[in-house]
């Protein structure tokens, strides 16, 4: 299990060095979007409209934070379940998106698209919203403000701790992790 420190936007060299199970600290700007924002992004793509941010090389974080207390950048901000975004994800990857942060396994179609588009899926710790908030140092709503918690935010992260869940070769920690843990037990 290696540890990497990476900076957005992501390029091929960075992504190809990441293996399922590695620990990664993300630095730089990433974009928040969950259910409702994905629906709007898809509609804009369908209509041929310009998207609120260029997808090329970027990371989307599946999160709907709690309101920021006074004097704070953001509220609690842990990942939501990624599989709800499985349907729109291959389209976004085709359009240049390189990374996603969420929690839980992805569909076969998403894994195939991750391989094809040389991208990566990270998992953040579900339920560690207060801990993750401390690595967010800027936050600005850049699209769909009416969606409130579900609006698209451009956030700057400093050493945002994640784990490579599905790497660019399709290795999947959600399958590999439990299997090798059980094999390890059987070999004891």
């Amino acid at each position: 299990m290696k540890t990497h420190k990476i900076t957005t936007p992501l390029d091929y060299n960075t992504i190809s060095n990441l293996n399922a199970g590695d620990k990664v600290f993300i630095n730089g700007y990433i974009y928040t979007a969950r259910d409702a924002a994905h629906q709007r992004l898809m509609k804009q793509i369908e209509n041929g409209d310009e998207l609120p941010f260029p997808l090329e090389g970027e990371i989307i974080y599946y999160v709907g934070p709690t309101p920021a207390p006074e004097g704070k950048i953001i509220g609690s901000a842990g990942p939501t379940t990624s599989s709800r975004m499985d349907i729109p994800t291959p389209t976004l990857l085709e359009k240049g998106l390189k990374g996603m942060v969420g929690k839980g396994n992805r569909s076969k179609a998403v894994v195939e698209s991750i391989k094809k588009n040389q991208s990566v899926y990270f998992a953040a710790i579900g339920g560690a919203g207060a801990l993750i908030a401390s690595s967010i140092i800027e936050s600005e709503i850049i699209a769909y403000p009416d969606l409130e918690t579900e609006a698209i935010r451009r956030i700057k992260v400093q050493d945002f701790p994640v784990i490579v869940a599905i790497d660019s070769t399709g290795n999947n920690l959600y399958e590999k992790g439990p299997t090798s843990y059980k094999e390890g037990l059987n070999n004891k």
Binding site: N105, A123, A130
Partner: protein
């Protein structure tokens, strides 16, 4: 007759909404800390430690433990010698939640129409279950139910012939399918018996039980122990990355059922099990 003013109920519900979303209860903290010692996956151990750090930060910074501050479910036990003054009880509970979620800067996660999906803006309505009991006490149990785990819950009408094995297999299958989606380590609430709806209701109620408390029926409590052991042999582990700690507890509640039926409901709660009780 005990008389309780609505405003008092509103204030207490508001306080509890904020408290349960910001502070982890000791029973849960103790079980989590114990699991760190027992977990033999290195990554799993680190994740469990991060969950302890998370609750420390939440407490220090005044932030919710999790950004999904849930949909509120209330179990009300209303003594029949209690009179509510100056308004309706259901309205008071909803008003308390509305104020708690506004003042506590909690996330408003409820949409009005499940198809058209417009956010109600104040995290109401609350799902309220009532029991009318003897006496002059009013007890309100509240849970802030996150949907990462709620979405992985399941219900099945088994055949009586499938019996104990059938129930166990269904519980294990549900946990397997949930994998890392439900934020393991989890608490598993199982409702067995009653009708279709009753089994789901008692499964939810089982999640509100204090960790470490067993079902009083020895046969059922040994089932709780066996299931916990079997779930933790699945290898799913913290966040689904492999390990021993998949569930922290299994709570089973039962109710008599029909000669033709064996309803089983499995309600999953994440490690951020937020609930509390108000007694008037």
């Amino acid at each position: 007759m005990k008389k309780i003013d609505c405003e008092k109920i509103i204030q207490e519900v508001k306080k509890l909404c904020i408290h349960m979303n910001l502070y982890m209860e000791d029973d849960l903290k103790n079980v989590l800390e114990q699991s760190i010692k027992e977990e033999d996956s290195q990554l799993g151990k680190e994740i469990l430690k991060d969950l302890i750090i998370n609750q420390e930060i939440a407490e220090k910074e005044g932030l919710p433990l999790c950004q999904d501050t849930g949909m509120v479910v209330a179990f009300v036990e209303m003594g029949q010698e209690v009179q509510i003054l100056n308004g309706g009880l259901t309205e008071a509970i909803n008003e308390g939640v509305k104020r708690g979620y506004a003042d506590g800067l909690l996330r408003k996660s409820v949409v009005g129409c499940p198809i058209r999906r417009n956010n109600t803006g104040d995290n109401t309505p609350v799902v309220v279950h009532y029991d009318i009991v003897r006496g002059n006490e009013l007890k309100i149990k509240l849970a802030a139910k996150g949907f990462g785990s709620e979405n992985m819950s399941s219900i099945k009408m088994l055949k009586p012939f499938e019996g104990l094995e059938g129930v166990k297999n269904f519980v294990l299958d549900t946990i397997k399918k949930a994998g890392g989606n439900c934020c393991p380590p989890i608490i598993v609430g199982v409702g067995i018996g009653g009708t279709f709806d009753k089994s789901a209701k008692i499964a939810k109620k089982a999640l509100l039980r204090r960790l470490g408390e067993k079902n009083q029926d020895e046969f059922i409590s040994s089932m709780e122990e066996e299931l916990l052991k079997e779930i933790n042999q699945l290898g799913i582990g913290p966040q689904g990355f492999g390990g021993k700690t998949t569930a922290l507890a299994v709570h089973i509640e039962t109710f008599p059922t029909h000669i033709a039926g064996l309803p089983v409901a499995v309600n999953i709660n994440c490690h951020s099990s937020r609930h509390g009780e108000i007694i008037f």
